[in-house]
Symmetry: C2
Subunit: 459 residues, 2 copies
């Protein structure tokens, strides 16, 4: 699961300091595909809906078998996929797309094998549907079970990473959902080839081929059509850059699971162990600056600024990190550039960091409330009361205490394969496992139970 | 918790057969309150946001104490509330509002005592926040806790029942959320008086008074302003008629918890115990026709039509139920009126029922897929395989097996005080307890834990 919005995104650091995310394929770009897009998308969605009904009756064993067959086919039938990918790459080069786009787009045998391995490991995970997560027997003998069931039809809207095509198909199959895949025009041939491999594998299983469908068209019209299918599509999951996610949340009539922006802070408290603080800061900022759980801002309590900041700034410089600091931070190192108001809100996704000195924990909290994005906030402190207060007041998906922000990741906290990191509060918040692709139904079993004891008149 | 969208709605049966829900105050009605509405609503929402931050630090004990004080004040200070209510009633009468509106609006000492009793019993329920609902220690020693926390600021938009004002305030306080109350203009004086009592009680507690705020203005402008406050308001919960809910879902930039329409079916299988089938049908249709978990449609397997329908039609007639039937149903009783296509989709909320004979369980399932609303569907059958199939294919919030649809109710299935019944799939589906007003945060506790073992350079 490797998009820039998920925690394990590829380590590639964009060359440009501006945050670009994966916005290589903004909504609205692509070739015009004329009229009739809405009808074509609806027809495919109706196929997916029928497939979803059959999937709801499938067993976890059938789905695991299908996933393994898909993995085998992805490893075995690389020729067609790589040829299609070469065509996409050539077209992207001809169109003058930049190196980061080309890198995200490119597949080779090793990347395909890695994708197949992900699918295979997903097959081995516990079945996310069918579990009973609540219930009991009521005083009147009515049996109540709350059962996890698939959402139904999931629409994935994403950008130039063809690996999302395989990831999304596998996650949805695992959770017994049908999936509508709407990737980027830049990867259109690659996605079509990957979906063809997956569907040919499905054709050899007990599952419906339309469990995995490519949305026809790569223009904005097809995205608009997808976003309008409330009732036919149960949820949309945008995966990619900030603009894609924002546009989907704003415009979709279909409910959206939002994976969000991470302007993650590391707050070094006056009671911090400064060695641990430095280790966490460097891990959070320098190891994979392009991912959403990387640190983007450092706040240091004034009482430890003299002891911590010179060490930290030297270490950050050694890792090539450009620091945008306030005046006090700048006083320790001439390489620090003055932070602008805009810097405090920036998700650099690059080797850059904003940094400020704060007078108190509460001042740090106020700063984070103002500029944070509700993703992941870290405190480094040995004070039990400071930690307790920070945890209590942080309104965020993840709070890390004396630990790196980079642990905000489903795989790192025991949730298994990760769907992404949600910064919304409803449905799922924080690292999302497969459970986020399920809902519940309540099964009530009686033996002629009535609520109000209605007398039955004689016939 | 007594609105027509929740299961325990008042037993009042609308006189008119057409479904009117609680649409006594459609969005857009009310007096013009001029410009500045958006700014005034935002100012109140900002007060509520500040209150929410303090509430997040409150203990369950403090909140229970506050609820008990509110209950005491509601019982003790009835004069002002009843005077305000009398003014609202007089104004509504003068405006020619119908009897159903007046009945929903009217308060008396007994109704206020019942409201106070609800608030008092809520105080005694378990605290919905602070619970740890997942976590463990990772192999690297990182401690992970998933903790239930309040959503923050909840906006309630509702119609002419002043009891919702108290219910919503109590539910939100119990779950440590601040609440923005936007009731109907028809109840404006009553709501203002109730909120004044609640806030005066809060002023004598450790909790912030702005935990409970009335949204200024009773025109569409104030609703529009509320729906635009994404980021400041965490969720909107519309409670009331279909039109209100649909408009909120369609227009709100703030996420919505949707409580929905219940076109609930009772399917009498060929293997049904017909005595149980009749008891369930009568309970589901006749006891409280005005509530969303009442049955609206009967499907009878052809093999038992001759044995069941004459008895059922006689009993329904004895309860004053008008049946809209297909030709076969009509053949048993001349009082049956022919069902139109529209009837199959109707939520009568009245002593009316659509009824059809189906050739098979699968035909019943197809009918329900086409016309159902995903609320509650019942099967009456002694066939284990028929029940298993029905449960597996029903894509609905609640499936009742040999039990009345009216058990689709939080209180009936052990969820405690009910917020409503959700027909959406994300966040909460089916009867919602207080947990639906919470989200989670992930607390990760390490001791200088880093993910990638970054070496710390010497300073």
């Amino acid at each position: 699961m490797t998009t820039a919005r998920t925690a394990d995104a590829a380590a590639t650091v964009p060359a440009a300091p501006r945050r670009t995310g994966e916005a290589d394929e903004p909504i609205g770009a692509g070739e015009p595909d004329g009229t009739g897009a809405a009808g074509a998308v609806r027809a495919v969605a109706e196929n997916a809906r029928r497939a979803a009904r059959r999937l709801a009756l499938s067993t976890g064993g059938e789905r695991a078998t299908a996933l393994r067959l898909i993995a085998d086919r992805l490893s075995a039938h690389t020729g067609g996929v790589l040829a299609a990918n070469a065509e996409d790459l050539a077209a992207a080069r001809a169109a003058g797309r930049d190196a980061a786009v080309l890198d995200r787009l490119a597949l080779d045998r090793a990347r395909l094998d890695a994708l197949a391995a992900t699918v295979r490991s997903l097959a081995d995970e516990p079945d996310p549907v069918g579990g009973v997560d609540g219930g009991g027997v009521m005083p009147n003998g009515l049996e109540v079970r709350r059962v996890r069931v698939p959402l139904g039809v999931v629409g994935m809207i994403y950008e130039g990473r063809p690996n999302v095509t395989v990831d999304a198909a596998a996650l949805c199959l695992k959770s017994a959902n049908a999936v509508l895949l709407r990737g980027s025009s830049v990867a259109r041939r690659t996605n079509a080839a990957l979906v063809a491999v997956i569907r040919s594998a499905l054709a050899d299983t007990s599952l419906p081929v339309d469990a995995v469908c490519l949305v026809p068209g790569v223009t904005h019209a097809s995205v608009r059509a997808l976003m309008a299918l409330r009732g036919l599509v149960d949820v949309l999951v945008p995966r990619g850059g900030h603009d894609l996610i924002r546009a989907t949340v704003r415009d979709s009539a279909v409910p959206v699971i939002e994976t969000g922006v991470g302007n993650c802070h590391v707050y070094v408290d006056e009671h911090a162990d400064l060695d641990k603080a430095l280790a966490v800061l460097l891990d959070a900022k320098t190891r994979r600056p392009s991912v959403c759980n990387a640190a983007e801002s450092l706040l240091v309590h004034a009482a430890v600024a003299d002891a911590f900041l010179p060490r930290a700034l030297t270490a950050l410089a050694a890792h090539g990190v450009l620091v945008h600091g306030d005046a006090r931070v700048g006083s320790y190192d001439p390489a620090v550039v003055p932070a602008t108001e805009e810097d405090w809100g920036r998700e650099y996704l690059a080797p850059e960091l904003s940094a400020a000195v704060v007078g108190s924990l509460d001042e740090a909290v106020e700063h984070i409330r103002r500029y944070g994005t509700g993703h992941t906030e870290a405190i480094i402190s040995d004070s039990q009361s400071a930690v307790r207060r920070f945890v209590a007041v942080m309104d965020t998906a993840v709070v890390a205490v004396n630990a790196s922000t980079r642990f905000a990741d489903g795989g790192q906290i025991g949730l298994g394969t990760e769907l992404g990191i949600s910064t919304q509060k409803l449905h799922a918040r924080g690292p999302m496992g497969l459970a986020a692709l399920t809902t519940t139904t309540h099964v009530l079993v009686g033996d002629g139970h009535v609520r109000d004891g209605a007398a039955v008149p004689e016939a």
